[in-house]
């Protein structure tokens, strides 16, 4: 399953870091962050609980980029 989320982030480098962090999160099969359109595309594993996975994606991103935002709720 794939979903697209609106995000807020300041610089291209930070966006790339968010992408890395999202990719490493459990339950995420693949992720890409588009800095220009400010969108994050997440492909989930088959039986993933989307809400929970996104919680941990958000946490991971906040860790590397304290003032980023993901609108997933």
């Amino acid at each position: 399953m794939k979903k697209t989320y609106k995000i807020e982030v300041d610089c291209a480098n930070c966006a790339a870091k968010m992408e890395d962090a999202a990719k490493k999160t459990d339950g995420v099969k693949d992720a890409s962050v588009n800095f220009m359109t400010l969108k994050m595309k997440v492909e989930f594993e088959e039986d993933a609980d989307v809400e929970k996975v996104m919680d941990s994606v958000f946490k991971a991103c906040r860790k590397i980029e304290p003032d980023c935002e993901i609108y997933y709720k």
């Binding site: 610089c11 291209a12 480098n13 890409s32 588009n34 003032d67």
Partner: protein, 626 residues
């Protein structure tokens, strides 16, 4: 301006005013330090916090870390020497100004580009019992009737059932002339209805409609990264740690050397200052931001011209194109058969066309259709006893006389003497009774801009143009000759086209690419196989959009040159930015290490270079004159 930008702007102003004010206060020592820490913390607190968090999370090597290290270092030097805090604050201040400018510029161009792509319709009108209701276009089922009022966007692809109007297709095709549509015409979503009320029967879901597909394509384009972007990402990854360790070495090794080897006092201040300058210069932001921005602007600008590029890697590849291979039908020619010549014998052209059209009046064959179309306004004669002679043609009675219309075989069969011609195309002969009355030549017509397009390609530096076609040699060579195409391969089956492309791919030089242009009908495999597949006028064909790398929204061959020029301009700007930023930084780094460059030059090397690079990449949006 966003909230954050406003807040940061206020911080920048307050901090610079305070800094200048304190400059004139006569305090010394600890009070002076305390005073100057106020503007420093106002402008830099978030950077310091971020740097701290970075260290805690074991991700230390980012800009914030560099900036914090450099400014704290500068403050310490100031405390121990002359109390000149301006440099430390200025570094932070200008860094923030640079960040602010970057965020403003990126936001602005983002708005610009998404503004161009603002073709997403918000609603569809469904009429029930005379009342128009606005619904989410996602909920409209195939086959529903939707109403589009003047000034509204067509939300979903479909067929007009009622009404006629002029459509503004500029957002989709870049074509400024409006298109006239009336009942029975197919319309695509994203066009703006200019004057009349239209009722449309939808033929697709919203998600499958043109507008959704285009948006999807452009929005996903930047996830396919070009080699330049990859290079920058990798570069930044090794570059930052490298600079930090070099700075450390610069701060420690020379003083140690001078202390222990030369027996002097080491000059610690001097070397630490140089190391800090080094750190400020080194920020890679100019590259990290300007390269993706250039590609994004290039792709956005191209889509405004009706050229959809599926990824920045394709833009890069396209700029290296040296050979362009064309499919003939539908690409260089219109793909519709038209009467190109009427050559009557002893009667007038009108009479010949009218007789032939009368004989063919019930036939649905493409040849018959084109004759009837050409006869169009000429008052049609009436035909009786129409009889089709399979594989030969038609026999009919018009005005009491027997008329034969058909191919060479028909003429031979009825024993009429006729003149042969070596012209290419389909030739229809006609006879009245036993007398030959002339021939009509029908062929596919070359697009009006095709010749100029090929010439322009040559001017842009394309080395070779090739045409692939399933047509007979004579027809193909005539067209190639007229268009001045270098190489023709004819009588090809769809599978042969792939092997021809493969042959060309083997011959090409390294670093060059081969583009194939087709209309997506029968040539999807070739589109995939070529380095760059360009599909033309492909809005209707899913297979073509899927198989190609670049989609031209209308079918004008001139757009190919335009696409190539856009890609070259974009790549040129990218390279300019890469070389400009890296060389300024390297020069300043060397100057900094030698002690020639001070903190102010360092600030220029960081913020100034970034601003220049961002401004330069915005030029990618300006494509009108290409």
């Amino acid at each position: 301006m966003t909230k954050k930008q406003k807040k940061n702007l206020i911080r920048i102003i307050i901090s610079s005013v305070l800094m200048l004010l304190f400059l004139f206060l006569p305090f010394e020592g600890i009070i002076r330090l305390g005073l100057f820490l106020i503007p420093y913390l106002i402008i830099g607190y978030d950077i310091l916090i971020k740097a701290g968090k970075g260290i805690i999370n074991l991700q230390p090597f980012d800009e914030c870390f560099l900036m914090s290290l450099a400014t704290i270092g500068a403050i310490i030097i100031a405390v121990t020497t002359d109390g000149d805090y301006i440099e430390a604050i200025a570094v932070m201040l200008f860094y923030q100004i640079g960040e602010w400018f970057q965020s403003y510029a990126v936001g602005k161009s983002r708005k610009n580009i998404t503004g161009l792509m603002d073709i997403r319709p918000d609603y569809a009108n469904i009429e029930t019992d005379g009342v128009i209701e606005q619904v989410d276009p996602d909920e409209v089922e195939i086959g529903s009737i939707i109403t589009v009022q003047p000034g509204e966007k067509i939300p979903i692809d479909g067929i007009v059932t009622e009404g006629s109007s002029m459509l503004d297709t500029a957002a989709l095709t870049g074509e400024s002339l409006p298109k006239k549509v009336s009942a029975g015409d197919e319309v695509i979503s994203g066009c703006i209805n200019q004057n009349g009320l239209l009722r449309i029967r939808t033929t697709k879901d919203f998600e499958e409609s043109t507008v959704s597909r285009i948006l999807d394509l452009v929005e996903n384009a930047s996830s396919r990264k070009s080699r330049s972007e990859d290079f920058i990402t990798r570069f930044a990854r090794i570059y930052t740690p490298f600079v930090v360790f070099s700075a450390l070495a610069l701060a420690i090794l020379p003083p140690l050397f001078s202390m222990f080897v030369l027996g002097q006092n080491g000059g610690w201040h001097n070397w630490i200052y140089r190391a800090l300058t080094f750190l400020v210069i080194s920020c890679p932001c100019a590259l990290v931001i300007s390269i993706p921005l250039s590609f994004f602007a290039g792709i956005g600008g191209a889509s405004r011209e009706g050229i959809l590029v599926k990824g920045s890697n394709y833009l890069e590849m396209l700029s290296k194109t040296k050979t362009v291979v064309f499919d003939k039908t539908g690409t260089l020619t219109k793909g519709v058969f038209e009467v190109v010549s009427v050559e009557p014998e002893k009667i007038t052209k009108e009479q010949l066309l009218s007789l032939a059209a009368a004989a063919e009046q019930y036939s649905g064959h493409p040849i018959a259709l084109s004759i009837k179309k050409a006869a169009g306004n000429i008052s049609a004669a009436c035909a009786n006893n129409i009889e089709e002679i399979a594989g030969h043609g038609i026999r009919a009675e018009v005005g009491g006389e027997i008329i034969y219309v058909g191919n060479e075989k028909l003429m031979k069969k009825i024993g009429v003497k006729f003149e042969k011609t070596d012209r290419s195309g389909t030739i229809v002969y006609a006879a009245k009774g036993n007398n030959y009355i002339g021939r009509i030549i029908i062929s596919d017509v070359i697009k009006p801009t095709a010749k100029e397009a090929i010439r322009n390609l040559k001017k842009t530096g394309i080395k070779k143009t090739v045409m692939l076609t399933g047509d007979s040699t004579s027809a193909a060579e005539m067209i190639a000759g007229e268009l001045e195409i270098d190489e023709v391969h004819c009588e090809l089956l769809p599978a042969d086209k792939v092997s021809e492309i493969e042959k060309l791919l083997e011959q090409k030089n390294k670093g060059e690419s081969i583009a194939f242009v087709g209309d997506g009908i029968n040539d999807a495999p070739v589109l995939t196989r070529a380095d760059i597949g360009i599909a033309m006028g492909a809005l209707g064909s899913d297979a073509a959009i899927e198989a190609s790398d670049i989609v031209l929204m209308d079918d004008d061959p001139m757009k190919i040159t335009k696409a190539i020029r856009i890609s070259r301009k974009c790549l040129k700007i990218v390279n300019e930015n890469i070389w400009f930023s890296i060389s300024v930084k390297v020069i300043c780094l060397v100057l900094g290490a030698l002690g020639i460059a001070n903190m102010w030059i360092a600030i220029f090397a960081d913020v100034g270079v970034m601003i220049l690079a961002v401004l330069n990449s915005i030029r990618c949006l300006m494509l009108k004159k290409l």
